[in-house]
């Protein structure tokens, strides 16, 4: 193994330099969130003194706790829906053979190619007619219905790395498709599931437009909506906006850090004989 010390240290050094570069935006946002408004665009990087009030001001500017609860609810439900349904559909495309499968798969991909700006209004009309306005339903229900072409595509690609022989053996053993999906393929695809979970969480956590047009009650707002309203003023209050961003980023960062263990495949693949 190439485990000699100098190579390790070199890699560590390189990674540290890269890490400093990637930390820049976060540090900038953090520092800006501690500045008074007038200093935000000054040339100095560091604030002259620490202005923690920006964080407290946030709680006055929006019902932060309420928004937090709503965001957590919507994101958690969405992640569940997406992980479940995209893995099911991805399984159909990646591990099963059936007539029309390829055509349907290309069709799914094709739906990603139409910009949502033009489908947005008819979709809104549908939800209006269903009476789902001012509820969380437009934000969550579609997540259970496939979870989006992107996630299906991702799942399918990962599922296609599972050896066919494994699947066939299970089928011969009398295992149902659902059983194969649940007991064999899903555990093997943990990195894919974790990826989809994190990306979906990020997307729903930060989504501003959908809550904007579907939710009218202030009590139903999300953090992203609150942030968007801060950012959307004609002359935004940047310092407070940055404080809000930091707070919004923290859960995602923590989640990402914790979820990393699902990315390590471990021994599951290598022990299997072809």
């Amino acid at each position: 193994m190439n485990g000699n010390r100098s190579a390790q240290n070199l890699i560590f050094a390189v990674m540290t330099v890269i890490a400093l570069f990637f930390l820049l935006p976060f540090i900038w946002i953090l520092l800006t969130s501690l500045k008074p408004e007038a200093e935000v665009f000054s040339r100095a990087l560091l604030p002259r003194s620490l202005h923690l009030e920006n964080y407290l001001l946030l709680f006055h500017k929006m019902p932060f706790i309420q928004y937090l609860q709503n965001s957590v609810l919507i994101s958690a439900v969405s992640v569940t829906g997406v992980v479940l349904s995209s893995s099911l559909v991805g399984y159909a495309f990646g591990c099963m053979t059936w007539p029309g499968r390829n055509f349907l798969f290309y069709f799914v991909i094709a739906t990603m190619m139409l910009p949502m700006q033009v489908t947005m209004i008819p979709v809104f009309v549908i939800f209006t007619k269903l009476g789902w306005l001012n509820t969380f339903k437009p934000l969550t229900v579609p997540m259970f219905l496939g979870g989006g072409a992107f996630n299906i595509f991702l799942m399918r690609q990962f599922f296609m790395t599972v050896p066919a022989s494994l699947l066939d053996a299970a089928r011969i053993d009398g295992c149902s498709e659902l059983g194969i999906w649940w007991r064999i393929v899903l555990p093997l695809a943990r990195p894919a599931l974790a990826t989809v979970a994190i990306l979906t969480f990020m997307f729903t956590w930060n989504d501003f437009l959908t809550p904007l047009i579907y939710l009218s009650d202030k009590a139903k707002g999300t953090l992203a909506l609150g942030l968007g309203q801060l950012a959307g003023q004609q002359q935004p209050e940047w310092a407070v906006l940055m404080a809000a961003s930091i707070l919004m980023m923290l859960p995602v960062i923590v989640l990402f850090f914790l979820f990393q263990k699902y990315f390590i495949q471990g021994f599951t693949m290598s022990g299997i004989k072809e």
Binding site: K61, F124, L212
Partner: protein, 414 residues
């Protein structure tokens, strides 16, 4: 039992509920106004979807040109109500009132506006050997003063007089207005951007850059920021056209600044012209409580409310009500109000082609950029813009005719 009025307003600089709401709720018992701020970005989508869903607020406060919504049947016509109340519409500044109409009907009441004027730095004028009490009154004088006010250090610009592209006012537009340009014919069907006045205005801006290049000035402007980094506040620019709220900004960031305010420069003896639009109030199509909405609207734009709001608001928006603007209490607020009020009488609307407003401004700005950077001569740039705008206008008018034959206009009958 209180009746409720839902009022959506586009959040301005701050999200605070305007004082008029509390004033109205306190002034009577039968109606309660519930005000909701909507974010500035994407506010059009929010209002659009609300109207589409059939459940809009009772009153909206928007800033985009009224015809943009009125032409699309999004607003309720107010003429019968105006007539029944014998409303004195001369209370509003004329150009603002004109903007509320579309095809002979009135769809909104103006509520707030901003008035532009020329800010000049007296200290810098004095240092350049100019009389600090005689700010430039014509564009020729602006040009001459700017030459004297230019200062360089190590080859880079550190101070300038007037920068035509700095700020929110469209300098060539003002100049074109002052030269007498009529951008659109009386029928509203033909756009003329290639009129000599407009070409002259663009050429003037191009010729302004005789002592320096556009790139140099762009780089110089790159050093400007917000707050105390603003070009005029940081005393890098000596002549700057901005609106009345700038007075408060200067007071906040650089209270010791020695400056004055004057009317916008003009050509020779022509009257000075400024441009103005307004934030307006209207009743969307499908609103439920129109009667009370109307009562609220009238209250907001009345002389008393406008005066009280102007004196109390932290962000000073200029009143649309002339009586309020000329009220001695208002004029006494600071030494410059008089100028702003005077200038408001001489404004033209920025919504020159309201039906295709955004297209007009995109093409106009593009033509201006091309002319400034020397990519195209002004005549050619304007000709191309005119073609695009005219084509869009033709289609909009055709569509308008098609729809008017098939959809009816909602009118508020008091």
């Amino acid at each position: 039992m209180q009746r409720q009025v839902d009022y959506w307003f586009v959040a301005g600089v701050k999200e605070d509920i305007p004082p008029c709401v509390a004033l109205f709720n306190a002034a009577q018992e039968s109606i309660h106004v519930e005000a909701t701020p909507i974010p500035w970005n994407e506010h059009e989508k929010k209002v659009l979807t609300a109207i589409l869903s059939g459940n809009p607020p009772d009153v909206v406060n928007l800033v985009t040109p009224v015809p943009k919504w009125a032409a699309r049947k999004a607003l309720v016509a107010l003429d019968p109500a105006l007539k029944a109340d014998r409303y004195d519409t001369t209370e509003f500044f004329p150009s603002l009132w004109q903007e509320m109409k579309y095809r002979g009907r009135t769809y909104a009441l103006p509520a707030y506006t901003g008035s532009y004027a020329l800010f000049y730095n007296r200290r810098l004028l004095r240092e350049a050997g100019l009389d600090p009490d005689r700010p430039p009154r014509t564009w020729e004088e602006v040009q001459r003063c700017s030459r004297r006010l230019l200062r360089r250090e190590k080859g880079r610009i550190v101070q300038m007089g007037f920068i035509p592209q700095y700020g929110t006012i469209e300098t060539p537009l003002i100049i074109a207005f002052e030269l007498g340009a009529r951008f659109i014919d009386p029928t509203g069907a033909r756009v003329t951007l290639t009129a000599p006045e407009v070409v002259t205005a663009f050429q003037w801006e191009r010729d302004f850059f005789d002592l320096y290049t556009v790139e140099e000035v762009s780089a110089f402007m790159g050093g400007f920021g917000y707050g105390d980094q603003q070009g005029f506040i940081a005393e890098k620019v000596a002549l700057f056209i901005n609106d009345n709220s700038f007075v408060d900004q200067i007071a906040r960031y650089q209270p010791g600044l020695d400056y004055g305010v004057a009317m916008i420069p003009t050509f020779g003896d022509s009257p000075s012209v400024s441009s103005a639009g307004s934030w307006w109030l209207a009743i969307p199509r499908g609103a439920k409580n129109r009667r009370d909405a109307w009562s609220f609207m009238k209250f907001v734009v009345s002389r008393e409310t406008q005066l009280r709001e102007a004196m109390n608001r932290t962000e000073t928006l200029f009143p649309v009500n002339r009586l309020a603007a000329n009220d001695p209490a208002f004029l006494a607020m600071n030494p410059y109000v008089r100028i702003f009020t005077g200038q408001m009488e001489q404004t033209r609307s920025k919504s020159i082609v309201p039906l295709v407003h955004d297209i007009f401004w995109r093409e106009f700005s593009l033509a201006r950029e091309r002319s400034l950077r020397g990519v195209m001569p002004p005549q050619q740039a304007l000709a191309q813009a005119e073609r695009t705008i005219q084509a869009a206008l033709d289609r909009a008018l055709e569509y308008d005719a098609y729809v008017n034959a098939r959809m009816k206009i909602e009118v508020f009958q008091p």
